[in-house]
Assembly symmetry: C2
Homo-oligomer: 274 residues x 2
């Protein structure tokens, strides 16, 4: 059964937008009593929240189909159109994927046409060959002030720190440092980081149930230090693109800090502005 589904006894009054979820009190009264809804929340937004809740709780897992629109409509006691609008927004946010004639599916980093959804580095010419991954360092330690701030942890909380190099066509191109909250990634090993084929974010979904839905990046041009230059096999002074990323799971919860150094002599970072 669906969590948050109103009891079947709750009648649905057409043209009374807030009825199924705000019953039995009047909408305004209920909102005021809860002190949560500030003014007015459209029905489809409430449906959207319920669907999000199911995703977050893992009721519907990445790659699986969620119930059909009709099914959800009858569960939530709203019209199909209202469910449709909720799903439309979730699909626009890349949390769900609609497939005509088949159903609506939970988005995943795994079986996606675009293999690396969050990687914007493109080869200047030709198409990318698969990357070779090399884990240079793997350790478990305390977060420290800076990492703790980025991941909303205490500075004494444990994190995994991973350093790795990605090579394309035998050329080391990306040097990455990752920080992951140890509590959410219990049992992570250097072997798992190195062995898994495909997007690392897909492994996070499969092995740890952590699904990244959004990421913020800050880009800078920097000069590498001696160690970094060595790992990327570039001259000490040569400019590299620094990409600091915080990736979030549901509810805007930060779950990964990643600092990348990209070689941009053969590749470039692609972005589209709307």
């Amino acid at each position: 059964m669906i969590f948050g589904c109103p009891p079947p006894a709750a009648a649905c009054n057409p043209h009374m937008p807030a009825s199924p979820l705000n019953e039995p009190e009047a909408p305004a009264a209920r909102a005021a009593a809860e002190g949560v809804t500030p003014a007015f929340s459209p029905l489809y937004q409430q449906i959207k929240s319920l669907i999000l809740q199911n995703l977050q709780e893992g009721q519907w897992r990445p790659g699986e189909a969620i119930p059909s629109e009709m099914e959800l409509a009858s569960r939530f006691r709203v019209s199909q159109g209202t469910v449709r609008k909720a799903i439309d927004e979730l699909a626009a946010e890349n949390l769900l994927v609609r497939r005509q004639g088949k159903g609506t599916f939970v988005a995943t980093h795994a079986e996606q046409h675009v293999r690396y959804r969050f990687l914007r580095l493109m080869p200047d010419a030709g198409t990318e060959s698969p990357a070779r991954r090399q884990v240079v360092d793997f350790r478990r330690q305390r977060a420290g002030a800076e990492v703790a701030r980025a991941l909303a942890l205490r500075s004494t909380d444990a994190v995994f720190q991973v350093r790795r190099v990605l090579s394309f066509d035998g050329t080391p191109t990306i040097l990455e440092d990752l920080w992951l909250p140890a509590s959410a990634f219990k049992g992570l090993t250097a072997e798992a980081m190195a062995d898994y084929q495909g997007a690392t974010y897909a492994m996070f979904e499969l092995d740890f149930g952590v699904r990244m839905v959004r990421a913020d990046e800050k880009l800078r041009a920097v000069a590498p230090d001696a160690v970094q230059a060595g790992l990327l096999q570039v001259a000490a002074g040569s400019p590299l693109l620094s990409v600091e990323r915080v990736a979030y799971t549901y509810n805007d919860t930060p779950m990964e800090l990643r600092r990348g150094l990209y070689r941009t002599d053969t590749h470039h970072y692609r972005n589209t502005l709307n």
Copy 2:
């Protein structure tokens, strides 16, 4: 009157999706005859094209309100819901802006809350003070092979080339080279580039009727040459963020090539991945 509006005699057959625009022939026959529509185009997509056409032809100018949904529905002889879906998509693409209770407006780079829609460079701390603009060079010349390719011109076509420096708090932070097709920017002067207060793209709208709707960027970390370093007042070897942008107007027509060099010691380039 609206360009492309079907004659009033064209009756609208409910549940015959393609009727108003594909009349009088049967939809499939018409599509085949024109050899344009490959398979099937939903009504709302056709409505969207008609609205786009009006925007492109300047029938509705940036900042102005377009006709109400009801008005458009009766002009196009479709239901309000169909017009709504067309407008929804155009609003999602930032071509239109809906304002409840007021109407739907043509988006503009001018009176937007976000002053510089296409500028992703943010100060590391605090809020940005207004930029000081300094035009270093302005000339009219032939495009040349490289610029011609980016702007879909012939290499002998004339372009304006502008070099300018943007300073924040007295610190030169951005060095930009711009290339603009002379045919679309007839009468552009160095004074206009220097004097206009606010976003340059807003000036393009007001003075030349050229509205940028999208841009593609390629980012790289580079070392500046001596001239560039001098203009930005940085050391010769210091890494800078290179941003090559092609900005497009309606119909994916490229109208500007811009090469920026950003200082990223006090600023960073912000990006969000979904």
